[in-house]
């Protein structure tokens, strides 16, 4: 097929004589192009193949490029069947069947859901439109934050006038339009402005805007969502008009706009007329017929019949005539239309049949004619039998529905205006204005003037200009227009339930009869009707059908439309590519990886990684041929027997200064810090106010009024925020300042009996001897020539020094220590070995051995709780609530498996009676479990009900494969229970 530059896929298809573009889901009927923009419900196509394929695009919005490959998002075979049985598939039919036979029939053989499951399988294959791309997306997307004083949505006459006026005030302007060119409806019609074709005015306006400072124009950009506080999203299609895959750069960009003021100039969408067989290819919107003719030079047929309820659509008849094509007739449902356009059509010799309506389209594959009949006064009956008029295009215009989707998204309910025969936007408050057709303007002159006024008002509200317009609207050649007639459902000689189908929503096959049925069954709320019939749930979100649907419902219920109301529109205005919303935050940028200063060293030494929060921590360092267990065993033994080194830089660190620093720590930790000597460290436990364990770590007193707090890696930010909160909101009187220094320090933990010897090689200004530098001391000096703070603390139970230096020098000091340890066989170890070492000592990991219900008593940590402090501490009171004093709570214990080689699964549940039937009472669960190389057996920590009183009992852990592992409850301290090794 061929097309021209500037064609859309739809215009090219029509130019090539393609009238059938889809098959209806429920009834298997042929469907053609109806509209020419975002409202199109039928011409839904899949572009391209493979990973770059795009499902569900509207052919009316696909710009043609060389080699474009498209196919309809066709329905499957099941439809032919559906076509036959469609009569038995009214709205909501699936709620009424497939429930399965009563259980007494199936005698428990089949599950009651089996029938539905089987039916569902068939149904699912029949539904759905396009296909998921077969591969990963080759394109990238990004997000772009924008701010402006005035955002103008829509670049039709009202939007351009608004932007011009606002721009002249000096305000920052952004104007976005979904089409490839700015101009909106002026591009489609045969309007003249100031005596020239409107395109000249558009070109001048765009040129002026483009040359203004602080004005940004965004064509091919759809304003998709309007959120609180004037935040809007705009999807800019940057490369879709050039090819399937962006050759270079970003395929689509999501603009996240914060606007001072918003001018909605979103125009209006022409409303179809609902009559029998109105879904036949060849039935189109009048404005679309004009658009294809005027803008794309495509005549969608040979002989036009115009069916209208208003003057405006007469332009289509005039356009058609001007192109030298035949107009079979204009059928106007009004009794006595008059006005310039009507006169012009009559003057051209065209037959205008007034007071009549098209009751039915004839033809099977496409329109071959129309049945017309005179309408009764209430538009609910016909006063004579229909007659046939031959034609191959029926252009319809039931009036115009303002595009109020965006205004509705703000939560503002649209209001029905009887005189406008339309829903208009509700009150938008002080941050937004509507102008042009969306506000009910009917003439071009009104659109321009409203636009200019809105632009000036918005600018002035944003602090620019006086609010008075300087804009003079160019002359328009518009004749006056008579009021249109409200006609939402054309009567048929048969009642609605028996007439040929009168479609309200083409994409989802919702008919007038379906709406009547819903109301008959009591689904009378407009939301119920929508959900029961699926009206407006398609990808077009009911842009064509909703108003007719509401009006038909109102008529059925004998209500007025205002009472019936309308459903709310949700973002997005038109569908938005997932990738554009995700932006660059996928793949390598999905979530930041935090790296320590020694990261590159770990990577080059073959570290396997563990994700801890956003940090990448070395998990273990396998040597060639080693399994994970081999590596962990080796790393653990090195720490126990010689010396090993761990990158502990990820621990959270907070510098605390002030005369009340000790008081502050006393309040947030269960233990006291007031009496801690300068240069000493103490382990602290932090509770939530509900008494459960929040965090733990070692805090050092660096000076009289200065402490350094360590927190767990994963909790660092939460703890810091927690401390700030209490200080700022509850205890502002405390003289204390908190500063996060997590990123400032690089920490090398040197662990093992030889650690002192290694450290001594790179540190000569700290006395490292046992009595000068005691366990839980902190000293300042130099390591490898760099100023360092060295803590003698231990998370492994071994002699251990944690060397902290400014992160700028972290790698340098790490390298120096590793080099100094060479002759001692210094071994880097990761988080897995760290976990084994601490588990051998019975040290808990907060969040692994404890959960959000564990109290200090449960964890066997009463030794770190001081209940006699003057203020108490956070969480203090909760330790006494009745449930926390229960004696059968889960308590921390050790487990020794009967078979020393079997390692219990972490997360394994423990029971007393393994052979019991479900539900089996559970005694507890395994929280940590490892093979201990030092002990030559498996060890585990567990939380067990009344565990501390059950030492010696045997519990059983049933595994998924049916086996059961037995283990004895023991003390959680497996190694060096007296803690002698860290004191050497």
């Amino acid at each position: 097929m061929h097309g021209f530059a500037g064609d859309t896929l739809a215009s090219a298809l029509l130019a090539n004589g393609v009238s059938r573009v889809a098959t209806s889901f429920k009834y298997g009927r042929p469907r053609g192009v109806v509209g020419h923009g975002a409202e199109e419900p039928n011409a839904i196509v899949q572009l391209g193949q493979g990973g770059a394929s795009v499902p569900n695009l509207r052919a009316t919005q696909v710009e043609l490029y060389d080699g474009l490959d498209a196919r309809p998002c066709s329905r499957s075979k099941a439809q032919r069947l559906a076509g036959t049985f469609g009569r038995f598939m009214p709205a909501g039919f699936y709620y009424k069947t497939f429930m399965g036979a009563p259980q007494r029939w199936t005698a428990g053989v089949a599950r009651p859901t089996a029938l539905w499951t089987a039916s569902e399988h068939v149904l699912r294959r029949a539904t759905g439109l396009g296909r998921v791309p077969a591969g990963n997306d080759p394109d990238t997307y990004d997000r772009f934050n924008r701010h402006c004083d005035v955002l103008v949505v829509g670049a039709g006459p009202a939007g351009l006038a608004a932007a011009l006026e606002a721009a002249r005030s000096g305000a920052r302007i952004l104007i976005a339009d979904e089409q490839a060119e700015l101009g909106g409806s002026l591009l489609d019609g045969s309007y003249s402005l100031g005596g020239e074709h409107a395109s000249k005015w558009v070109a001048d306006a765009v040129a002026e805007l483009a040359s203004s400072a602080d004005v940004d124009l965004l064509p091919r950009s759809t304003v998709a969502g309007y959120y609180d506080h004037n935040f809007l999203t705009i999807v800019e299609r940057r490369t879709d008009h050039l090819g399937l895959v962006a050759a270079n750069g970003t395929r689509q960009r999501l603009h996240r706009v914060r606007a001072g003021q918003v001018v909605l100039a979103t125009g209006a969408i022409e409303r179809p007329l609902v009559f029998a067989n109105n879904d036949r290819p060849g039935v189109m919107m009048a404005s679309s017929v004009s658009s294809y003719l005027n803008r794309y030079a495509v005549a969608v047929g040979d002989e036009l019949l115009l069916f209208t309820a208003n003057d405006h659509a007469y332009r289509t008849a005039l356009d058609w005539q001007r192109a030298g094509l035949a107009v079979a007739a204009v059928v106007d449902c009004r009794e006595a239309p008059e006005g310039g356009l009507v006169d012009a059509v009559r003057g051209a010799g065209t037959r205008v049949i007034t007071g009549h309506a098209v009751t039915e389209a004839s033809g099977r594959r496409r329109v071959t004619g129309a049945m017309i009949a005179p309408l009764g006064p209430g538009a609910d009956s016909l006063t004579a039998a229909p007659q046939h008029i031959a034609c191959d295009v029926i252009a319809c215009s039931g009036g115009w529905s303002p595009t109020l989707h965006l205004s509705s998204q703000t939560g503002t309910r649209p209001r029905w205006h009887e005189s406008a025969v339309a829903f208009l936007p509700g009150d938008l408050g002080k941050r937004a204005l509507c102008a042009g057709a969306v506000a009910g303007a009917r003439s071009l002159r009104d659109c321009l003037e409203q636009g200019a006024l809105a632009g000036a008002t918005a600018a002035s509200r944003a602090g620019f200009g006086s609010g008075r317009t300087t804009f003079t609207a160019p002359e328009t050649d518009e004749p006056s227009q008579a009021p249109s007639r409200a006609l939402f459902l054309v009567p048929h000689p048969k009642p609605v339930s028996r007439a040929p189908k009168q479609f309200v929503d083409f994409q989802l096959d919702v008919t007038a009869a379906d709406i009547e049925l819903a109301a008959r069954e009591g689904y009378t709320s407009v939301e119920h009707v929508k959900r029961y019939t699926a009206l407006g749930f398609g990808t077009d979100q009911g842009k064509l059908g909703n108003v007719n649907g509401v009006a038909i419902l109102a008529r059925t219920l004998d209500q007025d439309i205002a009472t019936t109301g309308t459903t709310m529109f949700r973002p997005a205005y038109t569908p938005v590519t997932f990738g554009a919303i995700a932006g660059r935050d996928v793949g390598e940028f999905h979530d930041p990886e935090r790296h320590t200063p020694m990261h590159a060293w770990h990577a080059s030494h073959g570290a396997m990684w563990e994700d801890v929060g956003r940090w990448k921590r070395p998990w273990y360092y396998p040597r060639p041929g080693e399994t994970m267990q081999d590596a962990v065993n080796r790393e653990c033994l090195a720490a126990r027997d010689a010396v090993a080194v761990l990158d502990a830089s990820t621990l959270g660190k907070t510098d605390i200064q002030g005369t009340d620093a000790a008081e502050f720590l006393d309040r947030v930790y269960t233990i006291g810090f007031r009496k801690l000597a300068v240069g000493r460290c103490r382990y602290g436990l932090m509770l939530r106010e509900d008494g459960t364990i929040f965090d733990d770590g070692v805090t050092a007193r660096l000076a009289e009024n200065r402490y350094l707090m360590h927190t767990t890696t994963g909790n660092a930010e939460a703890v810091f925020a927690w401390l700030e909160r209490w200080h700022q909101t509850e205890w502002p009187e405390l003289d204390v300042y908190l500063t996060s220094v997590t990123d400032h320090w690089a920490t090398t933990a040197l662990v093992g009996p030889e650690s002192r010897a290694v450290l001594a090689r790179v540190c000569d200004d700290i006395d490292l001897s046992r009595d000068a530098f005691r366990f839980m001391d902190v000293r300042e000096g130099h390591v490898a020539g760099i100023a360092a703070r060295v803590f003698r603390i231990s998370f492994s139970g071994e002699l251990s020094f944690e060397v902290n230096v400014c992160a700028q020098h972290g790698r340098q000091v790490w390298d120096a220590i590793v080099e100094a340890g060479g002759e001692f066989g210094i071994t880097p170890y990761g988080t897995e070995a760290m976990h084994v070492l601490r588990a051998e000592k019975g040290f808990i990991i907060v969040g692994q051995d404890s959960d959000t219900t564990t109290t200090p008593h449960d964890a066997g940590m009463d030794w770190v709780v001081r209940r006699n402090k003057p203020f108490g501490f956070l969480g203090d009171r909760s330790l006494d609530v009745s449930d926390h004093r229960r004696e059968d709570r889960l308590q921390l214990v050790g487990l020794a498996t009967t078979d020393e080689d079997t390692v219990l699964p972490e997360g394994g549940q423990l029971v007393d009676k393994p052979e019991a039937e479900a539900p089996v009472p559970m005694a507890g669960h395994v929280t940590s479990s490892y093979h201990s190389a030092r002990l030559g057996r498996s060890i585990a920590l567990a939380m067990v009900k009344s565990g501390t009183t059950r030492l010696g009992d045997t519990l059983h852990c049933p595994l998924a494969d049916g086996r059961t592992v037995s283990a004895k409850i023991v003390s959680p301290v497996f190694y060096d229970p007296d803690g002698e090794r860290q004191n050497v």
Partner: protein, 194 residues
């Protein structure tokens, strides 16, 4: 590229950085800081002061970020000069500073942060702490229309990659700054990152 890179990122070498807390409404506090650092802590929110190599950025109503050339010692002199409620913490290891210049440097910021960096709202002398991609950063507007971006060291690998990616469509160059002044143009041979 014929018309040169649209975005140039230069990373500062090692510098000294301190987090300072105290009462900015106290003249003695402000004078004490000025005497030691050579620049007074700004009282106006979201602004920064500079004198030569040294800068003081407003971080909060009682909090500033000070920076000076590598090797400068502020901690003891400041402690000596300031009395009463204050805190001074060396955070030199935590901070990475990059300078973004070029005609499209602002576009990179707009891809990264919800803040409004339009020159009308963010003229030279302003600074802001805000979200930057999925991290946070301090962004400061310089007199030469370039921007300084200060972020945490652990996020540096991520953010360098992010900025390079965001700048790529405009033509992106990576260079380096000297260790002395955060934004002194040292026209070192810049290599193309791609």
């Amino acid at each position: 590229m014929s018309d040169g890179p649209g975005v140039v990122m230069r990373e500062s070498g090692a510098r000294g950085w301190w987090n300072l807390r105290g009462d900015g409404d106290e003249p003695r506090f402000r004078d004490g800081v000025a005497a030691v650092v050579g620049v007074s802590p700004p009282i106006e929110p979201c602004t920064w002061h500079a004198a030569g190599d040294r800068r003081a950025y407003w971080l909060g109503p009682d909090e500033w970020l000070l920076t000076a050339e590598h090797g400068t010692e502020f901690e003891s002199p400041l402690r000596g000069a300031l009395h009463g409620r204050c805190s001074i913490v060396d955070v030199s290891g935590a901070q990475i500073l990059v300078n973004l210049s070029g005609a499209q440097a602002g576009e990179v910021l707009r891809k990264s942060s919800p803040y409004d960096f339009h020159p009308r709202r963010f003229p030279p002398g302003r600074c802001v702490q805000t979200n930057f991609a999925k991290a946070t950063a301090l962004v400061a507007a310089n007199a030469d229309a370039s921007f300084d971006v200060v972020f945490r060291r652990s996020y540096a690998d991520y953010l360098r990659g992010w900025i390079a990616d965001a700048g790529r469509e405009y033509g992106f160059l990576r260079g380096s700054l000297g260790t002395d002044h955060p934004t002194r143009r040292q026209r070192q041979p810049a290599q193309d990152d791609d």
